[in-house]
């Protein structure tokens, strides 16, 4: 015996053949029709919130109180990693275009659709612009944009956020560099007696300076590798937590090979520079002064 149909509320409907076309206020459960139920796909956030699974039967309506259709869930879709959707508390339901049109009574009206051009020579970056211009010449009541223009428009907010994050990163790096330099100076200064002893027994300034710089470089290298590992682990935890909270595959933090390489390189440069500065200060001091006499 098939399971009893369950009510379904959805905030966003999308056609499977076209991009999102229609956004009714709600979809509610109503009386079933005798015809075989159509199939729909719901996103995993809705499935989790409503406790639905593939094979479940639900009623789907365009507005609360309207009769709607009995539909069967044929698939549960995973959301794309789209930052613009993360904070929206919406559910997505996908259904066949004709079903969507009949359910909403909106005919073939669509709000937005995509046109893929073909036949343009590869590397012809201006082709989409020409196609959009050609469409706009004969368009009535709508306007065409090349995909790049749409991408720029939708990503402008994230560029601002990205710049903000970059500014925070630069401030953090500068502060860390000063902190690292001070720590290295202090740690090297703690070794002034050892440096004095080395100079007293005949070790050349260059030898002592080389040893200090080598040690500072090794500490910086090991520290940067440990730091990168710690950053990777923290990133994994942050992603795991927020992907769970927002039910999205979006990666909130990234530790790329480029970032690791930059961090290690920066750390090495800072280690070498701070080692040279700290070492030069010590080897220029008289050995007897270094050993406190």
């Amino acid at each position: 015996m098939p399971p009893a149909p369950r009510p379904l509320l959805a905030g966003l409907l999308a056609g499977v053949l076209l991009l999102p076309t229609f956004r009714p206020a709600s979809v509610s459960a109503q009386v079933s029709t005798p015809a075989a139920p159509r199939t729909i796909a719901i996103d995993e956030r809705l499935a989790a919130a409503a406790g639905l699974a593939v094979g479940d039967t639900v009623r789907l309506a365009a507005t609360a109180g309207s009769p709607g259709d009995l539909v069967r869930i044929a698939a549960i879709t995973r959301r794309g990693a789209d930052p613009s959707e993360v904070a929206r508390n919406e559910f997505k339901v996908r259904l066949h275009l004709d079903h969507l049109q009949s359910l909403t009574g909106s005919g073939d009206r669509v709000g937005r659709f995509a046109v893929r051009s073909r036949g343009a020579p590869s590397g012809d970056a201006a082709a989409p612009d020409r196609v959009a211009a050609a469409i706009n010449q004969s368009a009535f009541g709508f306007r065409a944009y090349p995909a790049s223009a749409v991408a720029v428009e939708t990503s402008s907010t994230f560029r601002v956020v990205n710049r903000f994050h970059r500014a925070i990163g630069v401030i953090t790096i500068v502060a860390s560099a000063i902190f690292l330099l001070c720590i290295t100076l202090l740690k090297v200064d703690e070794r002034r007696r050892d440096v004095g002893a080395l100079r007293l027994i005949g070790c050349a300034r260059a030898t002592v300076l080389r040893a200090i710089v080598l040690e500072a470089t090794l500490v910086a290298l090991i520290g940067s590798i440990l730091g990168a590992a710690l950053g990777w682990a923290a990133s994994a935890i942050v992603n795991w937590y927020y992907q769970g909270v927002y039910q999205t595959p979006l990666r909130f933090t990234l530790v790329t090979p480029g970032i690791v390489g930059f961090a290690v390189a920066l750390s090495l440069v800072l280690g070498v520079v701070s080692g040279i500065l700290a070492g030069r200060r010590l080897v220029r001091t008289a050995p007897l002064e270094l050993v406190g006499r």
């Binding site: 007696r193 004095g196 002893a197 007293l200 005949g202 070790c203 050349a204 300034r205 007897l288 050993v291």
Partner: protein, 236 residues
């Protein structure tokens, strides 16, 4: 036959600026030390003993006078030459040992030899030989914090002898040691001297001074007494 001294200091002076005036720690001091001698420099605190030792070891430069060690004038060396001379020309033993805490006893002894570019195998063998000589052949792999004060001072002596210096300079070598360990250290220095090492020690330790062949008394930057207790010929 003329015997050339290993160390010859002639009319050396060392003045320091202090509160706008010049204070002389060593005032026209002359001293000759022959090969095989063990000279103990004694005197009250502030009489210029340590300043003298620093001048003899090219740690400091005299403001006047001349110091020749093993035929080389060390009183006018530049920093790099003085550093090189401290590495190969003299061996230093300090009151507070000044061993590298992160290195083992053997590595501490090898350090001056590594700086002098001695091959690894040769310096390793020499370090073992020296540690055995000072009675630490079983402690080569121990780090300074695992050694007693006396053992650390033995390592310091082995390190000072690493590059076969013409002269061993020791600044209060028993100053940080208890009476029994101090006596062991004196015995070791005595053995070193008997085996041909020329030693100059600065000390307040009466027993150490008594063990030396020659005792030089200093006061106010000059030598006021110079007593040969055991001539070289007597124990040759």
């Amino acid at each position: 036959m003329t015997v050339t001294p290993v160390l010859s200091a002639q009319s050396i002076r060392r003045a320091y600026p202090l509160a706008g005036r010049s204070v002389e720690a060593v005032r026209g001091l002359s001293l000759d030390v022959m090969a095989g001698e063990w000279v103990a420099v004694v005197g009250p605190s502030g009489c210029g003993k340590s300043t003298l030792l620093n001048l003899l070891g090219a740690i400091d430069r005299p403001t006047a006078g001349r110091i020749v060690i093993a035929g080389r004038d060390v009183s006018a060396l530049g920093d790099a030459e003085a550093t090189r001379f401290r590495l190969t020309g003299v061996g230093f033993v300090f009151q507070r040992f000044y061993l590298m805490p992160t290195l083992t006893a053997a590595e501490n002894v090898e350090l001056p030899m590594a700086e002098a570019r001695m091959p690894r195998a040769a310096r390793s063998a020499r370090a073992r030989e020296l540690l055995a000589y000072v009675g630490l052949d079983g402690r080569a792999e121990h780090r300074p914090f695992q050694l007693s004060g006396g053992e650390q001072q033995r390592v310091a002596i082995a390190r000072a002898l690493a590059n076969r210096p013409a002269l061993l300079l020791a600044d209060e070598p028993t100053g940080e040691l208890d009476a029994r360990t101090g006596a062991e250290m004196i015995a070791l220095l005595d053995r070193l001297n008997h085996d041909g090492t020329t030693i100059v020690t600065v000390t307040h330790d009466e027993e150490l001074a008594q063990a030396a062949r020659r005792v030089v008394h200093m006061r106010d930057g000059v030598i006021v007494d110079d007593v040969v207790r055991r001539p070289l010929e007597a124990t040759a």
